[in-house]
């Protein structure tokens, strides 16, 4: 009889544990798996940003693709004879010159701390970082840069993207972001401090330098995607939307 009681007690204990485990699992019911809205955030096939100029855009995309493979890439490959640390430094220097753009646009978006950080970065990197060659502000004080431009400023105040645009040489853009390059160019010290030809030369070497440091991102997209144009279009729009939102 005693054994019987012990068995019963043990059985009950086991049952309780089991039900407790099952109940714990039931307490947080898995939300229904709505793949469009839930896991992947909305149906992008109805993306608000349209592409009414797709035919023209594809033409410009083709042009940029040829420019990349026949002009920029070979030059960038040749430029790789320069040791990588020097190219990274050059990239830092050219990027340091864009600090005013980031500072002003942070300010316009009322991100005061971020604006202060950009001014601090400009001062520290221009002096301690030897004209911006080293990103001393990041290394020493972890002052990270954050991309802000006039397109993001407009987005911050609710201006929509308009439509998708592929610009010759500059690549993926939208009406809003494309137009925004003009006010940004007024803040860019490269454009008002040197002659126009020199400024273009500097911008050109910036592009070549960046491609030389890149690990064939564009090539991999062209190789691996069914339609690189569509892939880049969506990547650009997603990235911009996220940058405006933060």
């Amino acid at each position: 009889m005693k054994r019987m009681v012990v068995t019963l007690l043990l059985m009950m204990l086991c049952l309780m544990t089991v039900t407790a485990v099952v109940e714990a699992a039931d307490e947080q019911p898995a939300p229904p798996l709505d793949l469009y809205g839930d896991l992947y955030g909305g149906d992008v096939s109805d993306a608000p940003t349209g592409d009414p100029l797709e035919v023209v855009n594809r033409g410009v995309f083709w042009f940029n693709d040829k420019m990349y493979f026949y002009l920029l890439k070979p030059v960038a490959r040749g430029f790789r004879v320069v040791p990588e640390p020097a190219r990274v430094g050059l990239g830092n220097m050219l990027d340091n010159l864009k600090s005013p753009i980031r500072a002003v646009n942070s300010l316009l978006q009322l991100k005061f701390k971020q604006a202060g950080s950009e001014v601090g970065r400009l001062v520290v990197n221009t002096t301690l970082g030897i004209f911006g060659f080293y990103d001393a502000a990041d290394t020493i004080w972890s002052l990270k840069k954050k991309e802000e431009d006039f397109g993001q400023t407009l987005g911050y105040y609710g201006v929509e993207e308009g439509f998708y645009l592929v610009l010759p040489f500059f690549g993926a853009s939208t009406l809003r972001d494309g137009v925004s390059m003009i006010p940004d160019s007024f803040i860019d010290p490269v454009y008002w401090s040197v002659r126009q030809e020199v400024a273009l030369g500097i911008k050109g070497s910036d592009v070549v330098n960046r491609i030389s440091l890149d690990k064939d991102t564009y090539e991999s997209i062209v190789d691996e995607q069914l339609d690189p144009y569509l892939f880049i279009r969506d990547a650009y729009l997603q990235n911009r939307a996220a940058n405006v939102a933060d």
């Binding site: 793949l35 096939s45 691996e224 069914l226 969506d234």
Partner: protein
């Protein structure tokens, strides 16, 4: 004595049931283990080694839920596709994603990766990682879903761009112009050419 035996068997059964319900491993550790294992294979096994691709492919398939990702990449069209088309799509999409992921991670084999915080909300988790290259930091986030007590990756977000959303957007346009069979045909051609590329790379390395 007989009762005693029953008792032991019953207790063991109970114990088995309870231990099967132990907490899953943290998603951060799961991601880190997989990525580190892949990088380890890439660094140690020679590029012409035939098992290399298989081993890495196995590691990826264990951690990524390709069925879920396929559903996400097709979006609304998943519902209208028949079973055969779905299976074909899953197979091809798995192959394509694998090639893409492998191709990219190979380019960054020798860079430092840091694993950030994990954020768990009910049965979802996001694990942030950063690849530190000489010239830039590339943020990559893995999104995971808890299924059958196991965290599985269902999306990868690179520089704020969701890979699956990106695919869905591209595929939706192709579906509109060419239909499901047209899309499957294009995917097959692409996968064949990528496999050829991999073979050439393997031969070059040998």
């Amino acid at each position: 004595m007989k009762t005693f035996l029953y008792l032991i068997v019953f207790t063991l059964l109970c114990a088995g049931y309870v231990t099967a319900e132990t907490a899953p491993i943290s998603p951060r550790i799961e991601v880190q283990t997989t990525v580190d294992a892949i990088l380890d294979q890439l660094r140690t096994l020679p590029a012409d080694s035939p098992q290399r691709r298989e081993v890495i492919s196995g590691l990826i398939r264990e951690q990524f839920d390709f069925q879920l990702m396929s559903q996400g990449a097709l979006g609304r069209s998943w519902a209208s596709a028949n079973d055969l088309q779905r299976q074909k799509f899953i197979d091809l999409f798995t192959g394509l994603l694998e090639e893409t992921y492998l191709g990219r991670i190979q380019a960054y084999t020798n860079e430092k990766i840091s694993y950030g915080e994990e954020e768990i909300r009910q049965n979802r988790a996001v694990v942030d990682t950063v690849i530190h290259t000489a010239s830039a930091d590339i943020p990559i986030s893995y999104k995971l879903l808890l299924q059958n007590n196991d965290w599985q990756v269902y999306d990868v977000v690179i520089e704020k761009v969701s890979l699956i959303r990106n695919y869905r957007s591209s595929y939706a346009s192709i579906l509109r112009s060419k239909g499901m069979d047209g899309l499957l045909e294009e995917m097959k051609e692409k996968l064949d050419s990528l496999h050829q590329r991999a073979e050439v790379e393997q031969k070059d390395a040998a």
